[in-house]
Symmetry: C2
Subunit: 579 residues, 2 copies
C-alpha cells in the first residue's frame, strides 16, 4: 500500500524491528525534559508529572493519617470507571506505562517540601515533612490489566495496595494519567472501526488540543488506538510515531502567479537532465483542460506556481492541497498537470488532499478524473493516486461517507479525535475497598455508584469461537475458574440476573506491574501495545463494537463475591424510619 | 469573607503585593522543568513547548519556501476565531504570555535537526538544515490585544509579521497555546458570571483534565478567568494560585468506628490544656441528636472518628465532607458536634462540603440547621459556617441552583470547567493576509470563512455610558477614529448593515509585544491579567454576557476596508459559467 502522506520518518515495514532502539533514543531525549526541583527525574515523562501534580486534599489527608498514627494501615484501592465513553460498550485501557514511570520517579523534592510548608497551615508538625520527604512507593504493589486491553465498567483497571497515606497520595496523578489516555485510545479505536482496516488514519489535532501536552498525549494514544501517524513532529521524535504532512492553504496563497515560482526546473530522476518543470506542467495543463473540458483560465496560476514549487522541493512525495480556490475548476486540474509533468521527469506524485466541501462527492470526482487520465494516457499508476480528506471529521462523518461510497484513502482527523468532542472526559475513579483486613463499601442512593468491596481478582472467560464472553470478578481467596468447567456468574446488583458459563479459555486479567519499589513486568513498546489493542478488539464480538445501539458486554461477580458484597451492604445501610 | 476552603498557601489579602516576588520564585522552579535537547530553555514554560511541537507541514513548507528563494518575503498572518464558544457572544483572550515565552526560547536544537533529517526525505538539501538551525524570530513583529481582554470573532488577536517561512513556522504552536487557554479562561468567566461576584469558585478538575498539562493549564486559566483557587498543588507552586482542599470519601471510609481514632485529644487554643476532643464531640452529639430530632444511632461512628481525626489535625481550618453515608442523618450531625467541640477548645470550624444529592435542598437544610444551632446556643458564628458544593457542576447547574435559592457559599468545579464539555475546542485559525505588499484573500463558499485581507488595525469604540459599543477594523494606513467624531462602521459581509458611531472613547486594541528579537512590552502578572479580565468584562453590556440568547456584540470594518476587501474578492472569485 502506498504511503499516502509524504515526508515521514518511519518506514512502517521496518518500524517494529527498530522500535526498541528508537524508543530508548527517544527516552533519552525526553528525559532531559523531565527534571524538576532539585531532583533530575530520569523518565521519559513530561516534566509536569510529579508528586505535586495532585489535589491538595491528598496531602492534608496524608497529614491527618500521619497524625493519627495510621501510616502503616494497609489499604487497597481500585481504579475503575462506571460507564463506557461515547455511548459505546467498550473502552481501551491506556496510561499504565505513565503510571509506572510516575512511581519510578516518585519523591518530594526539597523545593516541593518548602512549597508545602507554605501551603499548609503553620500548625502542621515539622516531622510530617520529614516523613513526606523520605516517602517512597517501595511498599506499594500495583496489579493491573495490560495496557491496550479492551476493558469494561466496574472491573478495576488497577488495584493499588500499600500503606494508606502512600496509596492515597497516588490517586489524582494516576487518574490524570489514565483518564485521558484511555479516552483518546478508545476514541481512536472507534475511528479505526468506523473507517475499516484499509483506510489510513492520521491525527492532525495539535492546534485544537487542550494544551501542549494534551496534543502530545493525543498523538501518542491515538497511535496506540489504531491511527497510522500524526502531524505532530515532537510526538514523532519522542514516541517514534510516523509523522506526516503536506502543505497549508497559506502556502498556495503566498503565490499570486507563475512569476512567483522562482524554481521552475527539476532534474530528471534517471537521466540527470535539467528540465523546465513549469513549461511541462503548462503543456499538460492545456492538454488536460481540453480533455477534461475545464477552462484553463479558471485554474489559478498562483496555485499552479505553488504546486510546481512544492513538487520541485518534494518530487518523490508530492501531495497537493487542492481546495484553496476551487477543487474541480482549479486544484484538481493543476494537480493532474503537475503529476503528469513529474512523471515525465521520472517521479511519482502521491495524491491530493481535500479540506472542505462535500468530501464524498469530491473524492468520487477526483477518482473518476484519475481513472479517465489513467485510461486515456495508459498510465495505470494514475488510478492509484491517493485522496486524503480532512475538515472537522468525526466518527459519524466517516460512517456517513461510507454510506455514500466515498473514494477517500486517508482521513486526517483533528479536533474530534483529540478533544473527544462527543465526551471529553472519562470518569475513572479510585475507591478504597479494604483497610487492613476490613473490606470497605461506599454506599450511594444511586445503586450503580455502590463500590464492590474487598480485594478482588478478575478473569475474562472466552467462548468456543474464541471471542470474549464475560468478565468475572472474584474474591482473591477464590480459586480461578477452570476452562471447561461451568461457573456461576452473577450480575453485581440485580439478584435475578445469573448465568452458568462454560469457558473454553480463562484469562486472568491482572499482572503485578509494581512491587518492592520496582517495575516487575517487562513493559511493551508503544508499537507492541498498539498491536495488543488490535488483538484485544479482534476478540470482541462485532455487535459489542458497533456504533449504533451496541450490545453491552457482560461484567459479573462470583456467587461468593455477590453474597459477601450484599451482606456488607445490608450491614452498612441504615434502616430508615418512616413516621 | 471567611476563607472557605481550609489549608491554603496564599492569603488573598496579601497575595497581590507578593505576586511579583513569588512569580519569579516560581519561574525559577518551573524553568528547571523546561530543558530539552541540548539547549536549556530558561522560561517558565512546560518543556514540551518547543519548535518541534508543530505540524510537519510547517517544516515541509519552510523547505519549499527556502528552496524557492522566498525566505525574505515579508508575510503578515492574522490569528483569530470565527465564532464565540459556548453559544455565547464573548471570549476572553488568553495564552499571549506563553506565545511570547515560546518566541524567547525559539530555536532548533542539534537533536531537533538530527530528528528532522531522519523525518524528511533524503532529497532535502543539507543547507536547509543549516538555515533551520540558525533560524530565529529576530525579524518577527507581534502585535496583539492585551491578554485577558474580552475579544470577538474576526478581530485578530495577534498580527504576526516577518519573513514568510519564520512566521509560518509559528502557526501550530501559537494556535495550541491560544486556543485552549482562551477557551478555559472564557469558560471560567462564564461560571463567574453565572455564580455572581460573592460566591467562591474553586477549580477541582485535574483528575479529569486532558492530560497532565491540560490540568495545569486549566488551573492557571481558570484562575485568570475569575476562579478563586484550585486544588492542583503544582499549579499553586508554579503560578502562585491559592490552593484549597479538604478530604475525600476514602478518608471517612478508612475509619470504621470511634476505636479507629487514635488521636482523641486536642490542646485548648488559649489555655494549653489537653482535652478529650472525642468525649466532647460525643457529648455534643447526644445533645444535638435530641435538639435536632435525629437518632444518634443512625449517625456513622466511623464518620465521627474521621471528623475528629481531621479536626485534630486541622483544628483551625476544619471542613468536613458530609455525604459519605447520609448528609442529614449522619454527616451534618457529626459535623455540628465536632464544630461545637472545637469551639469549646477555642477553635473555629470553617464549614462542610457536599458532593452528591440535591445540592439546593441539602444546602438549605444545612444552613437552617446552622441557624437553629446559632440561635439555640447563642453562637452567631455558627450561622456563617460555609457550605461548599461539588459534583459535576456546570454553568446550567449553577443557574438552576440560583433559581432554587440555594445556600451554597462555594462551588468546586471540575470536569465541565477543565474539559469545557459544552465545547471542548476553540477554533482559532492563523491566516495569511499579506505577502510583500500584496494583500491575500482566502475565498470560501461559506461567506463567514472568507478572510479579511491586508494589514489591519483594530479599535474598540465606547459609548457615553462607558460600555464597549463596537469593534472596528481598519487598514493600517487609515488614521485612528477620534473620540467625539462620527465614524461609519460597516458589517464586513452584509452590504446594507451600516451604522454611524459617535464614540466617547476610542481604544486602540493592539500593542507591539515582540520586536527585534525581544519582548517589548512589560508583561503583567497572572494576578494582574485576572484583574484585567474583570475590568474588561465589566465594560461589556449585560445583555451580551447573559447566558440565554445573548445579544451579539458588533464587529465592523471601515468603509475603506470594506471596499478594499470586496474589490479584491471580486478580482479573485472566478466567474462561473452555466450551460
Amino acid at each position: 500500500m502506498a504511503d499516502y502522506c509524504s515526508p515521514s520518518s518511519v518506514d512502517e515495514s521496518t518500524s517494529s524491528s527498530s522500535d526498541k532502539q528508537c524508543q530508548s533514543l527517544d527516552t533519552r531525549v525526553f528525559s532531559k525534559n523531565a527534571c524538576c526541583g532539585t531532583t533530575t527525574r530520569l523518565t521519559n515523562q513530561n516534566g509536569v508529572v510529579q508528586p505535586l501534580l495532585t489535589d491538595l486534599y491528598q496531602i492534608t489527608m496524608a497529614y491527618a493519617y500521619w497524625k493519627n498514627g495510621m501510616c502503616s494501615n494497609y489499604a487497597v484501592f481500585d481504579l475503575f470507571f462506571r460507564k463506557n465513553p461515547f455511548h459505546g460498550e467498550y473502552t481501551v485501557f491506556a496510561g499504565l506505562d505513565e503510571c509506572l514511570k510516575f512511581l519510578q520517579s516518585f519523591n518530594y523534592s526539597h523545593s516541593d517540601i518548602e512549597y508545602l510548608k507554605s501551603a499548609l497551615p503553620p500548625t502542621v508538625e515539622h516531622d510530617f515533612f520529614t516523613y513526606l520527604h523520605q516517602l517512597s512507593p517501595k511498599d506499594v504493589t500495583v496489579y493491573a490489566i495490560p495496557e491496550g486491553s479492551v476493558v469494561f465498567p466496574k472491573i478495576p483497571l488497577l488495584r493499588v495496595e500499600g500503606p494508606l497515606p502512600v496509596v492515597q497520595l497516588l490517586e489524582t496523578t494516576f487518574l490524570t494519567l489514565v483518564n485521558y489516555a484511555s479516552l483518546v485510545a478508545t476514541n481512536a479505536a472507534r475511528f479505526r472501526i468506523a473507517a475499516g482496516q484499509h483506510i489510513k488514519l492520521l491525527e492532525y489535532g495539535l492546534r485544537r488540543a487542550q494544551g501542549p501536552d494534551g496534543g502530545l498525549s493525543a498523538s501518542k494514544y491515538a497511535y496506540m488506538g489504531g491511527f497510522d501517524g500524526t502531524s505532530n513532529v515532537l510526538a514523532g521524535k519522542l514516541f517514534n510515531i510516523p509523522v506526516k504532512g503536506t502543505h497549508a492553504h497559506a502556502f498556495v496563497m503566498s503565490f499570486s502567479s507563475t512569476e512567483d515560482c522562482n524554481l521552475k526546473t527539476l532534474t530528471h530522476r534517471t537521466t540527470g537532465e535539467v528540465k523546465d518543470l513549469m513549461a511541462i506542467c503548462q503543456k499538460w495543463l492545456s492538454e488536460l483542460s481540453g480533455f477534461l473540458h475545464i477552462l484553463s483560465d479558471e485554474a489559478s496560476s498562483g496555485e499552479l506556481a505553488a504546486f510546481v514549487s512544492y513538487a520541485a522541493a518534494f518530487p518523490d512525495s508530492f501531495i497537493a492541497l487542492i481546495d484553496t480556490y476551487d477543487v474541480i475548476k482549479s486544484g484538481l486540474l493543476n494537480f493532474c498537470a503537475v503529476a503528469l509533468a513529474l512523471d515525465e521527469l521520472g517521479y511519482r506524485a502521491l495524491g491530493i488532499r481535500i479540506d472542505s466541501g462535500d468530501l464524498a462527492y469530491l473524492s468520487i470526482i477526483a477518482k473518476e478524473t484519475f481513472n479517465k487520465i489513467a485510461q486515456r494516457y495508459e498510465y495505470p499508476w494514475f488510478s492509484s493516486l491517493a485522496v486524503v480528506a480532512s475538515n472537522d471529521i468525526n466518527e459519524e462523518t466517516i460512517l456517513s461517507l461510507n454510506e455514500q461510497g466515498h473514494k477517500i484513502d486517508c482521513f486526517g482527523i483533528g479536533t474530534h479525535l483529540v478533544t473527544c468532542q462527543k465526551q471529553p472526559a472519562l470518569g475513572c475513579v479510585y475507591k478504597l475497598v479494604q483497610v487492613n483486613k476490613r473490606p470497605c463499601i461506599k454506599l450511594s442512593l444511586d445503586v450503580e455508584k455502590v463500590t464492590i468491596p474487598g480485594k478482588k481478582n478478575a478473569f475474562r472467560l472466552y467462548g468456543q469461537d474464541g471471542r470474549a464472553l464475560i468478565d468475572l470478578l472474584q474474591k482473591v481467596e477464590e480459586p480461578a475458574p477452570d476452562p471447561g468447567k461451568r461457573v456461576l456468574c452473577r450480575h453485581p446488583f440485580q439478584e435475578s440476573k445469573r448465568a452458568y458459563v462454560l469457558p473454553s479459555k480463562v484469562e486472568p486479567l491482572y499482572k503485578i506491574y509494581w512491587d518492592k519499589g520496582k517495575i516487575c513486568e517487562p513493559l511493551p513498546t508503544l508499537q507492541e501495545v498498539r498491536e495488543h489493542v488490535r488483538q484485544s478488539l479482534f476478540h470482541l464480538r462485532q455487535d459489542i463494537k458497533r456504533s449504533l445501539n451496541p450490545t453491552p458486554y457482560k461484567v459479573s461477580v462470583s456467587d461468593d463475591l455477590y453474597h459477601f458484597m450484599h451482606n456488607l451492604w445490608l450491614e452498612n445501610a441504615p434502616i430508615g424510619e418512616l413516621s
